[in-house]
């Protein structure tokens, strides 16, 4: 039996994570692509950490760092009147942090392909930074943004370790579809686990196929660059 509540919670979590993360990733990816500064390698390494660190370890640090025993957790609880751990908002923060490399990397690579000449010409055409970003750069880096968006959405949808550590398993609050699958297997309900796994599998394949096809079509419309 499909756990629709868990599926909806996962979709909601993925959507909010993407909405929060992608604009930040565009700004960070652009800055990393264009600017040279002391410690850039360290910043890039820090961004990549979630890729190599086990999700349970990240979840553990978030649990300890944002829990009611920590000064940060206590301060946040005082300010917003709500504990972050074992709450949906805590899942959003955890998902955003874990997905930083999936969002920043493709966007940074896309910005790196925007030629100097184009950016210089835009500035010399009188365009300000925001106009250059919106009118010239974003249409050029769109495939990278789309890839980041799909990667993050799919990754959050299937996230398990961090979600379990940070949110536990509260139905309607922190029980996502991955945790529902785990729950079903624990209770030997293999039919439900199979259905939900198939839904995730189909979603992942469809999303990736659509991204690839759309990126190719966008690239084809734009053709090769000006060189």
């Amino acid at each position: 039996m499909m756990d629709w509540q868990a599926l909806w919670l996962s979709v909601k979590l993925s959507g909010i994570t993407v909405l929060v993360l992608i604009p930040l990733a565009i700004l960070a990816g652009r800055a990393l692509a264009y600017r040279q500064f002391v410690g850039k390698s360290w910043v890039e390494a820090l961004i990549m950490v979630p890729l190599v660190l086990p999700p349970t370890v990240i979840g553990y640090y978030l649990l300890v760092g944002l829990g009611s025993q920590s000064w940060l957790g206590q301060w946040i609880e005082q300010v917003i009147g709500q504990q972050l751990v074992f709450h949906f908002s805590g899942l959003v923060i955890a998902s955003v942090l874990v997905n930083i490399p999936f969002a920043v990397q493709p966007i940074q690579r896309a910005f790196e392909t925007v030629p100097h000449d184009v950016r210089d010409a835009a500035a010399c055409c009188g365009m300000g930074r925001i106009k250059i970003l919106l009118k010239i750069e974003l249409p050029m880096v769109w495939p990278g943004v789309l890839t980041a968006l799909v990667l993050c959405f799919s990754h959050v949808l299937g996230e398990f370790g961090v979600v379990l550590m940070m949110g536990g398993n509260i139905a309607g609050e922190t029980k996502t579809i991955s945790i529902a699958i785990y729950d079903s297997v624990q209770s030997f309900d293999f039919n439900a686990a199979g259905t939900m796994s198939l839904v995730l599998l189909l979603f992942a394949v469809t999303a990736l196929a659509l991204t690839t096809s759309l990126s190719r079509r966008l690239g084809g419309q734009r053709g090769t660059n000006h060189r």
Binding site: P115, H116, D117, V118, R119, D120, A121, A122, A123, C124, C125, G126, M127, G128, K135, I136, P139, M140, Q221, R222, G223, T224, N225, H226, R227
Partner: protein
């Protein structure tokens, strides 16, 4: 906004990353070619004028308006300078059509007039019928013209062209030379064109500035720089290869001639009073100062500077022939280029001994480095 007509004055120094020292003026309506080898600082200079980079020190003034002044802490952005800039690879916006690319540069006029103005400029650069094409669907020459239209349509205070012809094929380049030469008549602003092609500079520029390793070597009219290079570095930059040692042996002020001894040869050149007898000098002669065509019709006998030479190599290059000759009895090499027609008429071939004349007025004594 009406176009402001003024001269550009630039006096800048830069020591960080790229060394650059420049001090020049480009008058309104004048085309200044900045010529030099790759990595010499040409593009950096252009970027500093555009406001894309800032020098360590100095001033850039457009008329009375300061664009950069390190002492007054003024550094206008490219947007504030209102320049027309055409980068080496044109910098067209790939997601915008040719027309939209030109419209993108028209931030200085009301929105309602932009499309009409952009279409007008596309027509002026002979691009009618292509306004809806994306840059990827245009040829190299067409892209170059869109970029030029975009830069010119801004009615810029200064037009900056960075190697504008380097990314197009030779045939297109020849056609674009003519178009730019035609447009040049209508340009009111200072135009600064970076190039490493001397012919381009000779063809299109009113003045020329040689730059190498960030240092200005010489500035002047292109033909003046070519025929009167200040020193050996300039001469070599200009591609002059006939540079020789000599010793001043006689100053003939009555005939306005200075006589040099080069090996066993006596060479006459224009009188230079600041060259005392006995001083060692380096002298140069450009290709157009070496005469072959007088040999056969006997006019050569009236010339000074007759040199007996042996042709060591001939290299046919399309309509011209490049010759490497030795001055007979010496190790002095003479490089020259003549038309294929003349080479055939004189039946020049390898190993042949003949005589050439060096025009005394074309011989130029170089300043010591």
């Amino acid at each position: 906004m009406a176009q402001i007509i003024a001269d550009l004055h630039c006096q800048i120094q830069n020591d960080n990353h790229i060394k650059l020292n420049a001090d020049f003026c480009c008058k309104a309506g004048e085309v200044l070619a900045v010529v030099g080898p790759s990595g010499g600082g040409k593009t950096t200079l252009l970027r500093m004028i555009a406001g894309l980079n800032h020098p360590d020190a100095g001033q850039i003034h457009f008329g009375e308006q300061p664009w950069f002044d390190d002492k007054a802490r003024i550094a206008l952005s490219p947007q504030q300078r209102h320049i027309g800039y055409m980068p080496q690879h044109f910098g067209l916006f790939p997601n915008l059509t040719a027309l939209e690319n030109v419209v993108a540069g028209l931030d200085h006029i009301p929105k309602s007039e932009r499309i009409t103005r952009a279409k007008d400029w596309l027509e002026r650069v002979n691009l009618h019928g292509l306004p809806d094409r994306l840059p990827a669907h245009l040829s190299g020459g067409q892209r170059q013209r869109v970029a030029l239209a975009r830069a010119l349509a801004r009615e810029p205070s200064v037009l900056l062209l960075d190697e504008p012809f380097s990314a197009v094929d030779r045939e297109t380049r020849e056609r674009l030379y003519l178009e730019l030469a035609r447009l040049k008549e209508q340009l009111l602003c200072p135009v600064i064109m970076v190039t490493h092609d001397l012919n381009e500079a000779l063809l299109l520029a009113d003045t020329m500035m040689l730059i190498s390793q960030g240092q200005m070597l010489q500035q002047g009219a292109p033909f003046e720089v070519l025929s009167r290079p200040r020193n050996e570095a300039v001469a070599r930059q200009m591609g002059l290869r006939n540079i020789f040692d000599g010793e001043v042996v006689f100053q003939d002020s009555t005939k306005d001639l200075t006589w040099l001894k080069c090996g066993e040869q006596l060479i006459a050149c224009d009188f230079g009073k600041d060259r005392p007898v006995g001083s060692r000098v380096r002298w140069v002669i450009p290709n157009q100062g070496i005469r072959f065509n007088s040999i056969s019709n006997g006019r050569l006998c009236r010339s000074f500077n007759k040199l007996d030479i042996t042709i060591d190599a001939l290299l046919v290059m399309g309509e011209s022939v490049r010759l490497l000759c030795y001055v007979t009895g010496t190790q002095l090499q003479l490089h020259t280029e003549i038309s294929l027609h003349l080479a055939q008429k004189l039946a020049l071939k390898k190993g042949m001994q003949t005589t050439v004349a060096l025009k005394s007025e074309q011989i130029h004594i170089l300043e010591p480095l």
